[in-house]
Amino acid sequence: MSGDTGVIHVVEKEQDLKWVLTDGPHPPYMVLLEGELFTRELMLQLKGSSRISGLAVAISKPSPAQGFSPGLKCPNDGFGVYSNNYGPQYAHCNWTVWNPLGNGLAYEDFNFPIFLLEDANETQVIKQCYQDHNLPQNGSVPEYPLCAMQLFAHMHAVTNTVTCMRRSSLQTAFSLNPEEVCDALSDYNVWSTLKPINTSSKIDPMDEVIIVATRIDSHSFFWNVAPGAESAVASFVTHLAAAEALHKVPDVQKLPRNIMFTFFQGETFDYIGSSRMVYDMQMDKFPIRLDNIHSFLELSQVALRNSSVLWVHTDPVSRRNESIQPQVKTLVEALINSSMGANVTLQEVSQSQPLPPSSFQRFLRAKQIPGVVLADHRTSFQNRYYQSMYDTAENILMKYPEGLSPEETLDYVTDTAKSLAEVATVVARALYQLAGGTGNTSAIQADPRMVSRMLYGFLIKTNNSWFQSIIKQDLKGLLGDELPQHYIAVTTLVNTTQLVQYVLANLTGTVVNFTKEECLNPEKTPNPEKEMYVYTWVQGSRDPNSTSRVPFCVQSTVHLTKAASPAFELKQWGSTEYSTWTESRWKDIRARIFLVASKELEIITLVVGIAILILSLLATYFINAKAHVLFSSPGDGGAVAY
């Protein structure tokens, strides 16, 4: 609660660490680490030492060349479909290690605070203080006063989820002023259907739905820093572009099968969103049942295609089933047909290779469904910064020319955008075919300009004119000027979820001529179609001549469903079936630097103080006792003033 204080030491090369761990005479130390040195070996050395009271990592610009991933080598291991009962040779990444660069740092327990310094100016201030006061002069030990740093990051929860949830539940049950110590990670999934469905009842058991899925969240070692460009953003932007392209086709409402575009939140943390949706489907709480699912198409990481190849991953275990195998073949063929003429080469990976970590695995756990996962990697990830703070726009090779204004940058079409638009085109055409469409698919094209705008909005700046025009009026706090990030967090409806909802509504919905009153209260106007749609009153774009906006009403089929792990509903906090991730509560997170004095000076001050106190008490007692003598003038017969 009172923070961790330590004498600053800057570690710029491996040898500097020796001073901190063994040689330095003024422990505990607060280490300022260069980003390049932030590796597992160094961190384990620091973890074992009692001479460290904290760590500040200066982000490395440019990103480390050898790659950096604090995630696991086998992401979401144990919560996918492969286990000892299902494909045991594929469990625990025995067949393919998906994230070989993963060092698992984010899953280690450190008992000192670790802060990230993103601003180079702040790092310079700390280094300047270190150089002024803490550098050894001529090989001798630096003298007090020394420059020190104090980091406040007290976490209220300890040990694990079971312990902290138990303590929280005791607090809420028995205390008048409950002090909860942790919260479950939860948010909302965004989903929308091509043909509108009535969400208050279940759809016909004979209806078939094709599910398209992507994740929208990411993670890094540091709290609230999760750019997730390759791991999440590129995938869901492609997905959004494919949804837009499909909605433009004229005869989609007459297609035999429906398509559900699903955006899962919380997949980074053991599939929170998809496990909840499967659970809801099993418990009959979702309009669509598992039996309605015809096939499953998932977009995993798709931005770093090597020589324009896109790999198709399938599940070898379910393919042994004679009813599943032909359906998977149809799926793959539809995809390959759709890639003709586009700058995308679709290739199947070896049929004995398991699925990469994907939401499809949760659906397979419940029922064997034919499905594929599209990715830019054949075996291990192409992404060398998987779930790290370096997975930014630079990682997916988004380059803008110099000197553009924010508006021009918003509309500039990067090569990345063009490449993702091609993937979206292939996906849209394949979906059209799979849904039973018989027309010519060459007219189905994803719009690269729209893809570029979305990439700009989700990776560089959310506060741009396009996003401003598609959100509701009273949500000004949604758009910020800092770098966007996509961590699920514990507050409901993080910015990412809301923005995906509004973008999807804008791209797949239609503008209807309602007044604000009708739009906000659709149940008032009699219309049987009202129950199938969701109406949103958006603030519209700014008139170029005036400063006011022209709002309008959007009719769409975009819905939100809760994405909280079923383990917390069932109160099984130690579950190995569902995700049990929680985040600790904390009060304030801040840091400051100052000088510390030597212990000797402090003790001298105390001793001098006590001496003066005792001396003055004695002197006062003595003077008071002798007051009549001290203050009597000799001529006076005895009348004294004191």
């Binding site: 020190a148 006590i610 002197a619 009549h628 009348a639």
Partner: protein, 320 residues
């Protein structure tokens, strides 16, 4: 700088004042009231002077460095003058209070003299001034750091504590000097108080050259202390006598016969010294009025023996 520095600086700054308070003020409720009222008067003077300075600063250009420095000097000047003005006001108030106390008392004498009031008022001023100087620093001293990251001296807390101690003493002595000057119409004493206050406050502008502010302040403190001692009825003889008396302490308590009375007349006596116990002893022919000077603890058996000894017919008047 942690607890050690916090307690060290508190004891340095407020140790002597604590001693003075415990031994001279705490026993007497009237003195406590005068102390607190004195502190309040100082507080009001600070409030008014800081209001003037605040308005001046807000009305001026914050970027102009020499102007801000000039405003600060003006602020200090004005504050010193206002503090002394309030000391004068407090003197007037206490004068009125003495008349009230005389009217209320049984024997027509005020239980407290103006000199004692001067001392306590000065101490009140000093305590509040010290509290305002030091409390913020003490709160920050509790934290883990020390002063110096922008190049200031490391000894800031220590020197502030010593400065606070000297200010408390100075206010006490100024109180005695000022009230004596008002009582006896010696205007030069009041002028001296104002002048020394200005010098001490002005010398703090030499900080961080702490020698420039602490040394003159301590010298002035000793000078004003000596002056105040002389005005309170002290001299070097008494000083030496008190030191000597420490060595051969007589066993007796009592008894100096204050005045012999005839049974008929009972004129108003000069007020007995405070801390003294008046004793009216009914004897066959004479009424003696004894005053017991507090000098160690009163031992009543010895008192009795002494009285009997005195009253033996034919014995000479003895002072035991």
């Amino acid at each position: 700088m942690t607890l050690a520095v916090f307690f060290g600086c508190t004891f340095i700054a407020f140790g002597p004042a604590l001693g003075l308070f415990l031994f001279t003020v705490l026993r007497d409720p009237l003195r406590i009231i005068i102390l607190i009222a004195g502190a309040f008067f100082w507080l009001v003077s600070l409030l008014l002077s800081s209001l003037v300075w605040f308005i001046a600063v807000k009305a001026s250009d914050p970027g102009d460095e020499p102007l801000q420095k000039g405003l600060l000097i003006f602020g200090v000047l004005f504050s010193v003058l206002l503090q002394e003005a309030f000391r004068f006001l407090y003197y007037k108030l206490l004068r009125k209070a003495i008349e009230g106390l005389v009217a209320l008392s049984e024997d027509g004498c005020s239980p407290i003299s103006i000199q004692q009031m001067a001392y306590v008022a000065g101490l009140g001023f000093g305590l509040m001034s010290g509290a305002f100087s030091m409390i913020n620093l003490l709160a920050d001293a509790l934290g883990p750091g020390t002063v110096g990251i922008h190049g200031d001296s490391q000894l800031y807390f220590l020197t502030s504590a010593f400065m606070t101690m000297v200010m408390i003493f100075l206010h006490t002595f100024w109180g005695i000097l000022f009230f004596h000057g008002c009582e006896t119409q010696h205007w030069w004493e009041m002028a001296a108080v104002i002048l020394t206050h200005l010098i001490v406050s002005g010398s703090t502008f030499w900080n961080p050259l702490y020698v420039g502010s602490l040394v003159p302040s301590y010298l002035l403190m000793f000078a004003t202390g000596a002056w105040a001692y002389v005005l309170s009825g002290g001299c070097t003889q008494n000083l030496l006598q008190s030191l000597r008396a420490e060595r051969d302490k007589p066993p007796a308590r009592i008894l100096r016969v204050h005045q012999e009375l005839s049974p008929s007349a009972a004129p108003c006596l000069p007020c007995p010294p405070s801390g003294a116990v008046s004793w009216d002893l009914q004897l066959p022919s004479l009424q003696y009025h004894f005053s017991l000077l507090e000098w160690g603890s009163p031992d009543l058996s010895l008192l009795e023996a002494g009285v009997r000894g005195l009253l033996q017919p034919g014995s000479s008047q003895q002072t035991v």
